[in-house]
């Protein structure tokens, strides 16, 4: 019996469906203080003074903290330490918090926050990355040209490739800020220990060990006395890392200074103002092909808006440049992706991490090329997709696993009935008077699994597994459940790794005092990295149990097998509980820390092996555009993915359903309404920031196309990001096909007004 590959019921399903799960904002502690942040009045200003005296005298107020109260370092960050927990010398964006008020009730804290007086000297606001580059106004003095990093991916001779091309297409595309739109706004609690300088932090926390470093850095506690226990997390999508961390440090500061628990949650408007977003990126592309449409070379200049803090910008640009070219064969690549510091809301990790934007730009350019050559978008892709033994756009020889993108794409187009529909639509769209016009779009991706070569050497995961005297296999792991179903997948892998039934396995809630330090649950690495650490721990425990069996049963154990709750060696066939009992009888401990790290890959900063392995995906969309009013109806979407091995197929499908919908929002609706004058965001709640409702979701069809990956422990790879990354590309290609002009609309989102005016320009005002 193999547990991996079964759609077992999610272990957190009942608690979440019945409402007994405790989220950060549900928690209450005796003597708890409620916190409220005071936000920057200007996106860029010197702070001349902060006067908290009046606020401190307000009813119920216990303390008001500012940057001056932080005892050690003032800044945090996962890689680049530049984010102020509390704005100190100046404000850098409107989400900066200048002071935090703590009071007996939330109302008291809210009221007192209005009485914190801050004197500012406004500075020029930089809100456009194009003008921020080299601007005399510098936001972070460590980056005097306001450029905070990037990657220049290079392969082959791009000039030669273009010289040898028969057809060249040049294009320009732009994307905007996208909000993660988790249903639960950030909420954290910090509970001081009355016995010693120790704080326990709970709440909506995606990266507990990174938070522990931040608290250690700012407040100076030893790491063992900073205990992070994420609560049930109401969605994250990469979004509950740096913002929640800054909040948690502020809450811990209050808790340690007052000796009282601190409860700190954001309203939706605060969350949208303060939390980082998906990077807006502008792309200039040049694609060269021979006359049959075989790609010779691709040159891209991508400019990302990092916002006020660097956050994850350089690694995001790394994925834009290394994965943006897609799963296509090409002789030469010159992909330069650069991120710029501005006074906009900062940008960082979000499901896809720099690739949904790049795929949108690339796939629309592919369609422009197909039209120029006179072949269908499907044929264009068929002629260029990578296969086994090919070299990837960045120079990676793909000879270590099944390069399944052809199989994946063909399954997706078959489900869409693409070829029949394509012929039908091309025919009906010949009528220039037709007002409702359909279109089809295809987008593909190859997703580097886990962090990639820009993190060569530090991509590690760890787990602690303890087999209890009752043969219960207990797993403590710091890769957190953030709504994706990871705990269940981990339990399935632990059952298979240990050779026991699923119901012997229990999963501890993540607790940094019990689970060993591990990399965060990011970068589509939870299943793959967690699985490999779990396997390592199982192997180590098997060894301990084998030694015990050898001692107790006096038999050779070199052929020992753990399978199906049985342990077999020599002529013995005992149950797993008997084997565990042998262990405890001999005073041996069947407990182990499993560790896995990704082998260092060959990457020189521009070319080579940018990732250890890849996940292949294809989304196909069918849309109908109404020229009379500008609406776009997504009629059907297909998402076909190769997750290596689907650890829990229903959970994989869940990821795909959500990913397709998230892509639809990015493609058609989502717009934060950035005001470039003051860097403010107009659409700060879900009345104005439009995400798809259930009514907007089309027939979505998830397809799993498995090819076990020899480079992963259980053959599986993570599906978080692949599930959404090609979707916006597919939908936008479909809209542009419906408009009869590939690459016509170039900036996201393709909303009502843009589509209407495009129709007007291309087809006239009315039938």
């Amino acid at each position: 019996m193999y547990t991996v590959g079964q759609s077992v019921k999610r272990i957190d399903a009942d608690a979440k469906v019945l409402g007994t799960a405790q989220f950060g904002d549900d928690e209450r502690y005796p003597g708890m203080l409620y916190l409220k942040g005071v936000y920057a009045k200007y996106a860029h200003a010197k702070i001349l003074s902060v006067d908290t005296s009046e606020a401190e005298k307000m009813p119920g107020v216990a303390i008001v903290v500012t940057a001056k109260d932080i005892p050690c370092e003032k800044m945090i960050g996962e890689i680049f330490i530049d984010q102020y927990v509390l704005a100190d010398d100046k404000t850098r964006y409107l989400g900066d918090v200048v002071a935090v008020v703590a009071a007996d009730t939330q109302d008291q804290a809210n009221e007192a926050a209005k009485h914190v007086k801050v004197e500012y000297e406004p500075l020029p606001v930089l809100s456009d990355p194009r003008t921020a580059i080299g601007n005399e106004q510098v936001i972070n003095p460590d980056y005097p040209d306001n450029i905070c990093g990037g990657v220049h991916a290079l392969k082959g001779d791009i000039d030669k490739a273009f010289a040898e091309s028969d057809v060249i297409v040049e294009s320009h595309f732009e994307t905007g800020h996208v909000e993660h739109a988790y249903i639960e706004p950030e909420a954290v609690n910090a509970i001081p220990n009355p016995m010693r300088p120790e704080v326990t932090i709970t709440g909506s926390l995606q990266a507990p060990y990174n938070l522990r470093i931040s608290v250690h850095r700012c407040l100076g506690l030893p790491m063992s006395q900073i205990i992070i226990r994420p609560s049930a997390v109401g969605g994250s999508f990469g979004g509950k890392i740096e913002t929640a961390e800054a909040m948690a440090v502020r809450a811990a500061l209050v808790a340690l200074k007052t000796g009282r628990p601190a409860h700190y949650k954001l309203t939706r408007e605060e969350s949208i103002t303060e939390s980082y977003k998906r990077h807006p990126i502008t792309f200039d592309l040049k694609l060269g092909c021979d006359k049959e449409g075989h790609i010779k070379g691709l040159k891209v200049n991508a400019l990302g808006d990092s916002g006020a803090y660097i956050n994850m910008s350089p690694p995001v640009m790394y994925k834009t440049a290394t994965l943006g070219p897609g799963p296509y064969r090409m002789d030469a690549l010159d992909y330069d992706a650069v991120a710029v510091i501005t006074n906009n809301v900062h940008t960082g990790s979000m499901r896809g991490f720099g690739t949904p934007q790049a795929i949108f730009a690339m796939e629309n350019t592919m369609d422009m090329m197909a039209a120029k050559i006179g072949i269908s978008p499907l044929e264009m892709r068929r002629r260029n997709l990578l296969q086994n033994g090919d070299v990837s756009p960045c120079g990676h020889l793909l000879d270590f696993h099944e390069v399944s993108i052809r199989s994946v794409m063909e399954k997706a187009v078959k489900e869409m009935d693409y070829e029949r529909k394509y012929a039908e639509i091309m025919e009906e769209n010949r009528d220039p008077k037709r007002r409702k016009r359909r279109g089809l779009g295809i987008a593909t991706s190859m997703r580097g699994a886990s962090i990639g070569a820009d993190g060569n050497g530090f991509d590690v995961s760890r787990v602690l597994i303890e087999v209890m005297p009752d043969a219960n296999v207990h797993v403590n792991i710091g890769l957190v459940e953030i709504g994706q179903g990871l705990r269940t997948a981990q339990a399935e892998m632990a059952a298979e790794g240990m050779g026991v039934p699923f119901d012997r396995v229990t999963m501890g809630e993540t607790d940094t005092s019990r689970s060993p330090v591990t990399g965060a649950c990011i970068a589509s690495r939870g299943t793959m990295m967690g699985g490999a650490a779990i396997k390592d721990a199982c192997i180590k425990i098997h060894k301990i149990i084998a030694d015990a069996c050898a001692a107790v049963y006096k038999k050779p154990v070199d052929d020992i097998v753990f399978e199906n709750d049985r342990v077999r060696f020599a002529d013995m066939d005992i149950s797993f509980p008997e084997a565990v009992k042998a262990c405890y009888d001999r005073n041996m401990t069947p407990m182990a820390v499993g560790t896995y790290f990704v082998p260092v890959t060959n990457w020189d900063g521009h070319t080579g092996e940018p990732f250890y392995t890849y996940t292949y995906s294809c989304h196909v969309a069918e849309v109908e555009v109404d020229l009379d009013c500008g609406t776009v109806e997504v009629l059907k979407m297909v998402g076909c993915h190769d997750p290596g091995r689907a650890v829990n197929p229903d959970a994989v499908k869940g990821q795909i359903y959500g990913g397709l919908t998230m892509a639809e929002g990015m493609a058609l609706f989502e717009d934060l309404g950035l005001n470039r004058k003051d860097a403010s965001l107009k659409n700060r709640n879900y009345e104005n920031y439009i995400i798809p409702t259930a009514m907007d979701v089309p027939e979505n069809v998830p397809i799993i196309d498995e090819h076990h990956d020899p480079r992963t422990a259980f053959g599986g790879r993570s599906m978080g990001e692949p599930a959404t990354e090609p979707g916006a590309g597919a939908i936008t290609c479909a809209v542009n096909m419906a408009l009869g002009k590939p690459g016509y609309l170039t900036s996201l989102p393709f909303d009502l007004d843009k589509v209407f005016f495009a129709g007007q320009e291309l087809f006239g005002e009315e039938a």
Binding site: G630, T631, F669, D696, L752, E765, E766
Partner: protein, 287 residues
Amino acid sequence: MKYKAYYRPQSVPETVELLASLEGPVVLFAGGTDILIYAREDDRYADSSIVNIFGLPELQGITLLDDEIRIGAGVTHTEIEQSPIIQKYAKVLADACRTIGSLQIRDHATIAGNICNASPAADSLAALAILDAKIEYLHEGKPCELPLVDLIAKPYKTVLTDRDLVTCIRIRRLPEGTQTVFYKLGRRKALAISRMTIALLAHRAADGTVDDFNITVGATFPKPYTFPEINGILLGKKPDPARIAEIAQAISAKIPEIAGIRKSTTFKQPVCRNMTARLLNELFTEA
């Protein structure tokens, strides 16, 4: 939510008495689906007495009269949407109410509340306008009445005082065979603030001539309007593509005329013309 005082009277007479006795600003709280959102934005009700009239028995019920339908002021959007009377005799209003917000909002939001909030984007208003809605209310306890188009003065402002209590809305009871259409254009299919709505009703005599017609556009003008002169283009005539185009042209021309030329005009005017033409063509070619 900050407020001065909160009251929950049990009847209309008690409410009238209470309103007369209160000092300072008063806020009549019906479903609360607008008020609670405003209260979250700022403390605008800090000095107000909140009078909760949700569920007052005299404000309930949908009744069929001889030529009209009486809708209690406290009737919710869900009740209107599901009412057999409205579905049979004023379907355009049921269709309009169905497009508003979410189910949870429609369960609580009342029809008089939607009118008195007077949002230019309110979805019920265009339908109420073409049904010649009249609003009955008590002013200092005395019954008064105003047509909807006169009750709303400008965006978010009616001519009522804060102590006037709307008791019911009377709308036309449409004769059998009347066709109606309610069209809503939003940025998504649910929970969307309308970019534009179109409400229309039409009846044709046995010989095919149009003997009853009323059309208006919502979420576009500062307050509800009807256009007798535009309706006249079709009244007494047989619908044909030229007349339909004339109506579409005329009603879309009202957008810059009434609302002034705004950034949205370049979108709304052609969309209004396109969709009016499409809806009328569909309506008159179907039957």
